[in-house]
């Protein structure tokens, strides 16, 4: 009689499908479905989108060096380097840069000569037009005997396209105007407007003589692996005079934007994923509880455990499958929307969608569906048939315990999968746990206090706060999710605006777009008058001396080759270079004298000199002082040409490098260098309509170099715009994920609320009292969550700004009000919407449904 054969009925399949069909139709699975769809959709769209953006930005920023990597030196590249690159099938282009005076008839102009090989550029676009009205086309090669020039050359030399310009001893025919130079933004400081010629014409100019200043660049591009192999081989062989760089290291400002946007995008996406995962966890917990009676009945009626197991595995499996598939479609569509939004800014032609977003999204979906639901579902399957008699209320899942290990591990896996950053994932996870625990206790405290306050408030408030207190356990968990959801939303909003604002603040309205260099003393007066006449914003004229810091307290500094991009007059470029100790200071610095402290400068140590102080002295920028371990009172020796002099450091300044002012590391007082000859520099904001006039005026001063910075600014602004759009898109997704958590949480408490409402109705509570008490309860919950979220956000923003994004910390009290207000409104509305049906049920129905 014990020989029982335990067999499973094939009915599980049919029952499972029936269950799925019915629950989908009734909307019981909507939250879980949406949560998985959102998690998968978010991951797919963001991974795909950021991948495309990264690729596009990388290839666009590769444009800023015209290659994947660039070798640069004052001498030709060693032959073995070229041979090695050839064995790796890398593409090579070469370029010689030099400054020279060029002539057209009686006019002359100091220009930058770019002699390029036929293969230039390897990445990005080299564009120009052969008539001023033509749309720019790609410049394939520069024919021998011809030159392409920047537009200002035409005005300043008073020549037309088709005219001749003499470079050295070689006359070249101007065939067109350059509109886009692929490695433009690297050309931060040049002597003058660019003239491009074929590299084979360069010897014919006879400009390159022994000892003349020429800079040789070799551009490399190829498969990433080959490039990396080459880089690995090459780097150890480079000496101090040879530079090797990629797009990022070439352009600190651009790479800064890239780095931050990359970090921000991945951080925001991670938060979005966390929220979606939380929504799955909350919804599946409710799902498990809701299905307990069903499993108990199944079992009481004789269903075996394996029957129930198969039924639910199929049910959950199909649900996950459908959700993941829909998620992929949604994610793909979102990605397309995102991509189409930035298409105008960024060429995505070369970006190919890889399988990475697909796999990452599917794994995310599976992790969400399995790891976050495994405990509620195993608990569900283990439901005892005895519960049909005993009742189900006792089977409330414990909130904390080892069962949370799997979801936490899964969360960690998700974060790692997405960010591939151990530190960031770990700190997010541990920080999250810590914050949750703190919030849990804080929440209970506030709710307890609220109860006391409630006794003094009106009837509805009294009931609402009493409810909050009574359900303190469930509510504090709800509160934590609300808080975290609101906090993340606030965080993303605040970070988004502070990042974008900071970027944009680098380019205020009157940002200079031209630099004028090589201005001689007698040219300053007419230039000043001209600027005034045309009402051109400018930052005044600064005397400029090129010199070296040759000794500190009589200890000689080690000299290295001055780096091409290290002209001090230009904001933060050299700041990123981080010269190593005293060695780095040996390069040529742009020095100036000032009698007044320039704007955006702040003396942090010592004192700024009086105008009539005749003791030679120097004021130093604090960052450099720190790097070179120079203190107040140290004696610095400078060499300018053949002159050498020693001055004490009398003040140390903080300089806002992010402003587009002319900034200097070393500023002397006039007494220090009054006898040394110098030229001046000025920064002008020239509006487009006055450009021609200015260029024509400046053509009378051929030795003045004018550098148009506007195009670089445009490039940066473009990038900021497109990254901002990406951030907005992510913000929308994070808000969706956050809302889902809120809805899932409200839904989870629905059954209990239903019972309570039934009791209150039975006891004769009026409809308006019930509605108000529910509304106030949610409003109070949302308000408290908003308050705690604001505090948590402030702390998180502080850490993010100072640790991750390396920005100045700022406080955002206005967002506190937003947090509290939006929290109360949002939770209140969501709660009321979810409970609306319940509140409008007749007493009889309500009682019949719950009793």
């Amino acid at each position: 009689m014990n020989e029982l054969t335990i067999k499973s009925s094939p009915a599980w399949f049919k029952q499972s499908l029936s269950l799925l069909h019915h629950e989908f139709r009734r909307g019981d699975l909507t939250i879980i479905f949406l949560a998985i769809v959102l998690a998968v959709g978010t991951v797919f769209s963001l991974t795909g989108f950021t991948e495309q953006i990264k690729q596009a930005i990388m290839s666009n920023s590769a444009n800023t060096i015209g290659a994947d990597r660039v070798y640069g030196a004052t001498r030709k590249i060693p032959v073995e380097f070229l041979e090695k690159s050839e064995t790796l099938s890398l593409n090579i282009a070469s370029k010689i840069l030099t400054d020279s005076m060029v002539f057209a008839g009686d006019n002359m102009l100091l220009s930058e000569l770019d002699a390029v090989s036929d293969s230039y550029p390897l990445r990005g676009k080299f564009m120009g037009k052969t008539s001023l009205t033509q749309t720019p086309v790609s410049i394939e090669t520069i024919k021998l005997g011809t030159a392409w020039v920047e537009e200002s050359v035409l005005a300043r030399l008073d020549v037309k396209i088709g005219g001749t310009v003499e470079v050295g001893v070689l006359p070249l025919t101007i065939v067109g105007v350059i509109t886009e130079i692929p490695d433009r933004s690297y050309r931060m400081f040049t002597a003058g407007p660019a003239i491009f010629l074929n590299i084979e014409d360069m010897p014919k100019t006879e400009l390159i003589q022994p000892g003349s200043r020429a800079y040789y660049q070799y551009l490399f591009a190829g498969e990433q692996d080959d490039i990396e192999t080459f880089e690995k081989w090459l780097k150890p062989q480079l000496n101090d005079t040879q530079r090797w760089y990629d797009a990022k290291s070439a352009q600190s400002r651009l790479s800064n934007v890239l780095d931050r946007s990359e970090k921000f995008l991945s951080l925001a996406s991670m938060l979005g994923i966390v929220l979606a995962a939380v929504a799955v966890a909350v919804a599946s917990r409710r799902y498990g509880q809701r299905h307990q009676p069903m499993v108990a009945v199944f079992k009481a009626l004789g269903a075996s455990k394996s029957h129930v197991q198969k039924l639910y595995m199929l049910h959950w499996g199909l649900l996950s499958l459908i959700s993941i598939c829909v998620g992929l479609v949604v994610g793909y569509l979102l990605m397309l929307i995102g991509v189409s939004a930035i298409e105008n800014y960024l060429s995505l032609d070369e970006s190919q969608l890889s399988f990475k977003p697909f796999f990452t999204a599917v794994i995310t979906g599976l992790l969400c569906a399995v790891a976050f639901a495994i405990h509620p579902i195993t608990e569900l399957i283990a439901t005892k048939p005895l519960d049909v008699i005993r009742g189900f209320s006792q089977n409330v899942l414990p909130k904390f315990g080892w069962h949370q290990l799997i979801p936490l591990l899964a969360l960690f896996a998700l974060l790692m999968l997405f960010s591939r950053d151990l530190m960031m994932s770990l700190s997010l996870l541990l920080g999250g746990i810590l914050v949750s625990v703190v919030l849990l206790f804080l929440g209970r405290l506030i709710m307890g206090a609220g109860r006391t306050a409630g006794t003094k408030a009106g009837k509805s408030w009294h009931l609402a706060l009493a409810n909050l207190k009574r359900r303190a356990n469930e509510n504090s968990v709800q509160l934590v999710s609300f808080t975290i959801a609101i906090q993340l939303l606030l965080l993303i909003t605040v970070m988004k605006s502070s990042i974008i604002e900071e970027w944009q603040s680098q380019f205020p309205e009157n940002t200079p777009n031209h630099y004028l260099l090589n201005i001689t003393a007698d040219e300053v007066v007419p230039l000043k008058a001209f600027a005034q006449e045309l009402a051109i914003d400018n930052q005044g004229f600064y005397s400029i001396f090129l010199g070296r810091l040759s000794a500190i307290n009589n200890e000689k500094t080690i000299s290295i080759d001055d780096k091409k991009d290290s002209t001090e007059t230009e904001s933060d470029e050299k700041k990123e270079e981080k010269p190593k100790g005293r060695k780095g200071a040996g390069r040529e610095l742009s020095l100036t004298w000032q009698s007044e402290l320039p704007i955006e400068n702040e003396v942090v140590e010592g004192k700024w000199w009086q105008e009539n102080d005749n003791t030679p002295q120097v004021s130093m920028e604090s960052g450099m002082a720190e790097r070179l371990a120079i203190k107040l009172g140290d004696k610095l020796t400078f060499t300018i040409g053949s002159d050498e002099f020693t001055v004490p450091v009398t003040s140390i300044r903080d300089v806002n490098w992010k402003s587009r002012q002319l900034n200097f590391i070393m500023i002397f007082n006039q007494a220090a260098i009054q006898n040394i000859e110098s030229t001046s520099i000025s920064a002008w904001m020239i509006p487009d309509e006055k450009k021609k006039q200015v260029y024509r005026f400046l053509s009378e001063y051929p030795t003045i170099s004018i550098m148009d910075f506007g195009s670089i600014m445009k490039q940066l602004m473009n990038m900021i715009d497109q990254v901002s759009i990406a951030i907005e898109l992510i913000l929308v997704l994070v808000i969706l994920a956050g809302s889902l958590v809120l809805v899932a949480q409200v839904q989870a408490s629905m059954e209990e609320r239903e019972r309570e409402l039934a009791i209150l109705r039975t006891l004769g509570a009026k409809g308006s009292l019930l509605r108000n008490s529910v509304l106030f309860e949610f409003i109070a919950l949302g308000g408290v969550a908003g308050l705690m979220a604001s505090i948590a956000m402030e702390i998180a923003v502080y850490f993010l700004q100072t640790q991750v994004f390396e920005m100045a910390a700022s406080f955002h009290f206005s967002y506190w009000l937003v947090g509290i207000g939006a929290g109360a409104a949002f939770v209140g509305i969501m709660g009321m919407l979810s409970c609306w049906r319940l509140l409008n049920l007749s007493s009889v129905t309500l009682i019949r449904r719950t009793m």
């Binding site: 014990n2 335990i6 009925s9 019915h22 075996s304």
Partner: protein
């Protein structure tokens, strides 16, 4: 007077005859349905206790009970007397602390959860106070459920037939939420009978219904039970409902006592009258 007495005596005789006939019918039914009046449920020295912190709470004192096939047995008692605990053990939903339970000769006390499930699937039917229909399944699917679990091939036909018998032929595609309490319990009754269980356990089957509906449901339950000759074990605190069973046992503080037979017959009469 004589006339009236004689008339009354005749009526009484008729009633007795009706009852006798009915008993014969029941027994014949039993003969048709079950070949012998075998012992279908036997428990001996069964106890149940739970550990509450440091002391054990005796829910059931040692109980012996034998139920024959086709018998209808009511377990009555006040709330907390242990009747539901007893029912859960008899139905194999729970295990005793000590003692033996044989259902259809299966030693439930030695069986694990899975084996007990199988016994339930093959031999047991349930009716619950809360109806406990699966909300995601239609009325018909709910009725078919135990038949499907027991791998019966003609679940649908049987389900439709049973729904017809409980008067819900037209409601087969409706979901539980679309049915009234009485209708839900009728579906539950149909569900309970679909596998032609050897034993049907009913836990307060009318407890959640108003009196009128309760009576209808009870009628339906006893009718079907009679037709199919199922052994019925009913837990109730409604004495009227209990009296409709052939046997009543009373639980009081975990102790089981058989009630006297005379009360049974009188009340059976009353019940019969009510049905009639």
């Amino acid at each position: 007077m004589v006339c009236l007495d004689a008339l009354l005596a005749n009526v009484e005789e008729d009633v007795v005859n009706v009852r006798k006939l009915k008993n014969i019918k029941i027994k014949m039914g039993c003969l048709f349905m079950k070949s012998d009046s075998e012992i279908i449920l036997k428990i001996s020295a069964l106890t149940k206790s739970v550990q509450l912190e440091d002391k054990a709470l005796e829910l059931l004192q040692p109980i012996d009970l034998t139920v024959n096939s086709g018998e209808t047995l009511a377990i009555v008692g006040s709330s907390g007397s242990g009747k539901t605990t007893l029912l859960s053990i008899l139905a194999g939903l729970d295990l005793p602390t000590s003692g033996e339970v044989y259902l259809k000769n299966h030693p439930l006390h030695q069986f694990n959860e899975e084996q007990r499930s199988q016994v339930r699937a093959n031999h047991v039917g349930f009716i619950f106070q809360q109806f406990l229909l699966i909300s995601s399944l239609t009325a018909l699917e709910n009725v078919m459920l135990p038949a499907e679990l027991a791998n019966q091939p003609d679940a649908k036909e049987q389900g439709l037939a049973l729904l017809k018998q409980v008067g819900l032929a037209e409601r087969g595609e409706h979901y539980p939420s679309q049915l009234s309490g009485g209708e839900q319990q009728r579906v539950a009754i149909a569900r309970a009978f679909i596998t032609k269980p050897d034993v049907l356990f009913a836990d307060e089957p009318t407890g959640n219904l108003d009196t009128k509906t309760g009576v209808h449901i009870a009628d339906l339950l006893f009718d079907l039970n009679e037709k199919l000759g199922t052994t019925l074990i009913l837990v109730t605190h409604d004495p009227k409902l209990a009296l409709r069973c052939q046997r009543q046992v009373e639980m009081d503080s975990g102790i089981l006592q058989e009630k006297s037979a005379t009360t049974t017959s009188t009340n059976e009469y009353a019940a019969d009258m009510k049905v009639g």
